[in-house]
Assembly symmetry: C3
Homo-oligomer: 327 residues x 3
Amino acid sequence: MGFTLAELARLTGTELIGDGSFEVTELTSLTRASESSLSFLSNDARRAELGNTKAGAVVVSRAVADDLKCGLISSDPYHTYAELSVLFDSEGIPFSGDINVTAEIDSSAIIADNVSIGPGAVIGAETVVGAGSVIGPNVTIYPRTHIGLDCLIGASTVIGYDGFGFARSEHGWVKIRQLGGVLIGDDVEIGAGCTIDRGALDDTVIGDGVKLDNQVHIAHGCCIGARTAIAGCVALAGGTLIGSDVTVGGMTGFTGHLSVCDKVHIGANALVTKSITVPGSYLGGSGGVMKAEDWRKNAVRFRKLDALARRLSELETRLETDESRDL
Amino acid sequence: MGFTLAELARLTGTELIGDGSFEVTELTSLTRASESSLSFLSNDARRAELGNTKAGAVVVSRAVADDLKCGLISSDPYHTYAELSVLFDSEGIPFSGDINVTAEIDSSAIIADNVSIGPGAVIGAETVVGAGSVIGPNVTIYPRTHIGLDCLIGASTVIGYDGFGFARSEHGWVKIRQLGGVLIGDDVEIGAGCTIDRGALDDTVIGDGVKLDNQVHIAHGCCIGARTAIAGCVALAGGTLIGSDVTVGGMTGFTGHLSVCDKVHIGANALVTKSITVPGSYLGGSGGVMKAEDWRKNAVRFRKLDALARRLSELETRLETDESRDL
Amino acid sequence: MGFTLAELARLTGTELIGDGSFEVTELTSLTRASESSLSFLSNDARRAELGNTKAGAVVVSRAVADDLKCGLISSDPYHTYAELSVLFDSEGIPFSGDINVTAEIDSSAIIADNVSIGPGAVIGAETVVGAGSVIGPNVTIYPRTHIGLDCLIGASTVIGYDGFGFARSEHGWVKIRQLGGVLIGDDVEIGAGCTIDRGALDDTVIGDGVKLDNQVHIAHGCCIGARTAIAGCVALAGGTLIGSDVTVGGMTGFTGHLSVCDKVHIGANALVTKSITVPGSYLGGSGGVMKAEDWRKNAVRFRKLDALARRLSELETRLETDESRDL
């Protein structure tokens, strides 16, 4: 497989610099490039890397175009890289293209045209899978789940299992039957090993264009707004409402029954314990998130907390001494 | 499906208020209710919500019964809701009712009557599954696992895999063969995507009535006491011993070879690094848990740690100035 | 199954103390031992436990041999225990020995001799599985994954799924097709419920002798050096480079695009946000890791942060009073 650089300029709507007949055989990172590679520089601050790469051609922004001998100028090199990744993907989405004979599909499920279902996948009763969706191997879709158009679901993910709901009684826990479903929009990607529970009463809702990384846990009754992206191993407790265009770093948790407004960006490994009502960047630990700039200041101080405590003790001692002297 | 309110009063042992012939067609939350809904108020402090709901009938406690025109009075509205959830569950537990033909069951496994096994489930040698248990799709039960009566196990969960045990040698890690099994009591619910390892020498034990949410990890040789409930994404390192009637919030970790006494309640996203010997509520972060009230005070101070450090610096400066002046 | 103590001394290269004809029927912990048990003491500091065990024979180090009436003296009792665990393992590795008929293996996959593949496992196109490897039940191997010799992979693990890569656009997220593969060395153990993503451009690499516990998440483009051991529920964001002979405690995260040098030991539930370039022990929370001794000092102070803040307030008040008095 290969393209000339001129072809790639045309296919991606970018501006050609240098030899248009240059034969590109692979798309690589700057560091692992060969002479026939096309690579990309997505961060202008790293323009010095252009001097060290072996890549025959590079996609760059106009701001660093002066450094470029051969390549493509793009208004958004990372976006152009995404477009190029499709051109250089000789395989296509794995396990797409058919419904595997080993998949177990309930007769009441409604499977649209052009749906792929991987080996060992299990599709429960009264589910709906929209056109163009790809269900990975060994995925389990419990009954009453609706999956929209063009969704991609990674292997071993479980959608629609019962939420974790119990009432106490004298004899232990009484299970609350979960009566809601899961409603997944269009163009949603859900990674491998995720769990998305059905609602207790109302549906769990995943909006259009949402992207979930691997091992994400979404409890019953959560709603996630359009285009929100959630990194690996994040967990949402029951009833968490997350707005649109939110990003969440890996391993972050939400304690449930709270809401996060649109355009909030939360870092990794934090715990969200209260609603967030102002867009912006937030960081935190188990004590809850705060504005990212405040967290950074506090976290730096924590790294010297022992020294700070010693300074306080010294001050106390000095004052005691002064006061004894005064007496 | 529908019930009159009088029927529901009789079936749940609650007191009817208002029109007993009122036809209830669905069980909903207060916020998403319709005129033919039955809803519930489990927290008396939120009694103002009764004024805003569209629900035709509501289950409430006696303390707020004065506000109620039509509904049911219960000594425990949340428990009554659990009972109602069974009545309004037209489907029953998903994937229950049979042993799917695609399940792979070792010929030496002992499967009691009335056991359900989902599609793609794998049941290893010398396992026992007690009557009434439901094994979800794509679950894997490794050899020598004993599962009690009336257990419910979510999809993709893995029970009885080898614990993580290795001895160092000059040439790297030497695997310690895991010789114990997993012993699961009666009425246990294990969520989707969980992993419960077999013991290194002694069995891993999950007591009667234990409830585990999704993506919980129980390492080798752990014991969990009766009726303990553990939320999503919690991890127990090897040899953690947890008492009875304990609750654990999501994403909390246990560093292993420690014990937690009965009736302890641990919050979300904490790390338990030492044994807990006194019942009560605990919270914490990566530095270990502490009594909940102490944690809250410290966590609040952390949010102003930078300001606190600045105040200390000011004090130091002022004292330096005073002392220079004194000279 | 049983061995005489003399046989076990010979098979493990240890020194016999006491009656060589003693019949050992089981290998147990000191606390759950019976009179015909062989147990082991791996920590000399716990030699007092030898007085309380019922074990008929114990493996100990030479340092505590004086306390021993019957047993084996080893230069490394824990390593000897590992060897004994093989002798007492009557079952062998579960689901080893064949390729189950329900496994779904792509015709282009290359499966070496002596490979075991569990029920429901799915092996994608152009994968390679080396001799002696055991693929657990319901495992999914996506296309272009190479697995070395003698690897062991736990149930429900997913290897080679797409990394989490998207470029922003006006219309939402544009998927970046993942073009790299996963390259796994020899003698690697991967637990149950893990997810290891394929690289975006370059391969994700897991070195020889690496051991991963359950529910570990390795994002695209990570490299893990030889013999590194990672405990349960750890997550590596994209492009994390970890050296050789590193150990990582459970639930710890890495924010990606950083490197950790050889022989680093990181505790549980920490967040690694920057590269580590000096071997040694590190601990931390969401604010990042630090040298273990520094973390411990700071964490102790945190437990009294509220008291520390009160002391500072008192000092401020006292100084204010002094200064007013001075006026």
